[in-house]
């Protein structure tokens, strides 16, 4: 007996990923499904663009451009990988191109505009918090791009190594090595600032 399944049913069977189902439904013309994906991922994509570029002031613009690209590229989407891997690949490539095109150095330029702190800490703790945040931003910005991407996806988007490998189009062992090196470098660079914090 021939079991005729729609592409959506096929995916539900083979890849139980709700995002993929939504994306295929969008491909079939259901705009509301794209809106659901947009609502789900707008926060993570803004956050990724912000930390990747080190510029909160341009993060929203970058994120909107990423979603426009995602919308336009939807007809070419193949459900061979997780939707989030596909989306973050677009995000990474777009941010990378924009960073190369423009001057995104000096990431702390707009830091003071966005840093709020907890609001109830004493002035010394608040100042140290700012110092740590600036050190984190600098250390992250100084990382080689691949290490930065792998670390961000790992720490802030809870991606398993396998998904990171999919996103970055590389091997599992390469991801393991990238994250290990990134963490070592970050630890080295933050060590001094964090030591001084312990003395407070």
């Amino acid at each position: 007996m021939i079991n005729a399944m729609t592409p959506v049913e096929q995916v539900e069977l083979e890849m139980p990923d709700e995002d993929v189902r939504l994306m295929l439904a969008f491909q079939a013309g259901d705009e509301e499904c794209f809106n659901q994906l947009f609502q789900k991922y707008k926060g993570p994509i803004v956050a990724f663009a912000c930390r990747f570029s080190g510029r909160p002031s341009v993060a929203e613009e970058l994120a909107q451009e990423i979603f426009v690209k995602c919308y336009m590229a939807a007809p070419k989407y193949q459900p061979s990988a997780r939707f989030s891997s596909w989306l973050f690949r677009i995000a990474r490539n777009h941010c990378l191109n924009e960073i190369r095109r423009q001057d995104y150095r000096n990431p702390t330029q707009s830091f003071d505009e966005t840093w709020q702190g907890a609001g109830n800490e004493n002035p010394e703790t608040h100042a140290h918090g700012i110092q740590i945040q600036k050190a984190v931003m600098h250390a992250l910005a100084e990382l080689p791009e691949k290490q930065r991407t792998a670390l961000l996806l790992n720490r802030f988007h809870a991606m398993p190594y396998e998904s990171i490998a999919e996103t970055m189009d590389t091997s599992l062992s390469a991801v393991k090595s990238l994250i290990n090196r990134a963490k070592k470098t970050m630890t080295k660079r933050l060590d001094g600032v964090l030591e001084s914090g312990d003395e407070l």
């Binding site: 926060g43 803004v46 909160p56 720490r155 060590d191 600032v193």
Partner: protein
């Protein structure tokens, strides 16, 4: 396994990405190695600091800004398609016209018999130089002399 090799796996252990055998080996090593314990603590502390890197949430106008941007992108895509379509049809029309002209010209050149007047004109044109020479020759004085010579006998009889 040396401390250096074990420390390479620290990051994966903390992420839960180390396979069981390596995880057990590293855990056992950590239990007895103060230096690696210190490294692990440093790594955890720096990752905790990284975790405090707060970023702003999307602004209230994010959705409407995106919708506007998407509309613009769609319009641009449509605009980009239009000239291409025009060029495609324009190119097709030009090629068709050129083919029609070429076929017509070929028909005239190789087609049916030409009118007699046209043949006369063509022959005249081809022999123009010869005809001009004929005019020149016909108007030469020598021809007058030829008439005299050819009628010389009768002229002499007249004189005699």
């Amino acid at each position: 396994m040396s401390c250096r090799k074990q420390q390479k796996n620290l990051s994966a252990l903390l992420d839960g990405e180390l396979d069981d055998a390596l995880a057990q080996s590293l855990s056992e090593h950590l239990a007895r190695c103060a230096s690696c314990q210190k490294e692990k603590a440093k790594l955890e502390r720096s990752m905790q600091a990284l975790g405090t890197y707060a970023v702003p949430s999307p602004s209230p106008s994010f959705d409407s800004d995106f919708s506007r941007r998407l509309r613009l992108a769609k319009a641009e895509q449509e605009k980009a398609r239009s000239p291409r379509r025009f060029l495609l049809w324009g190119g097709f029309a030009t090629a068709t016209a050129a083919a029609a002209i070429a076929l017509f010209a070929l028909g005239v050149w190789r087609g049916g018999p030409a009118a007699p007047a046209q043949i006369v004109d063509v022959e005249l044109a081809q022999n123009l130089e010869l005809l001009e020479d004929y005019d020149v020759v016909s108007s030469l004085d020598i021809l007058e002399d030829f008439d005299v010579v050819s009628n010389l006998d009768s002229l002499m009889e007249d004189e005699g």
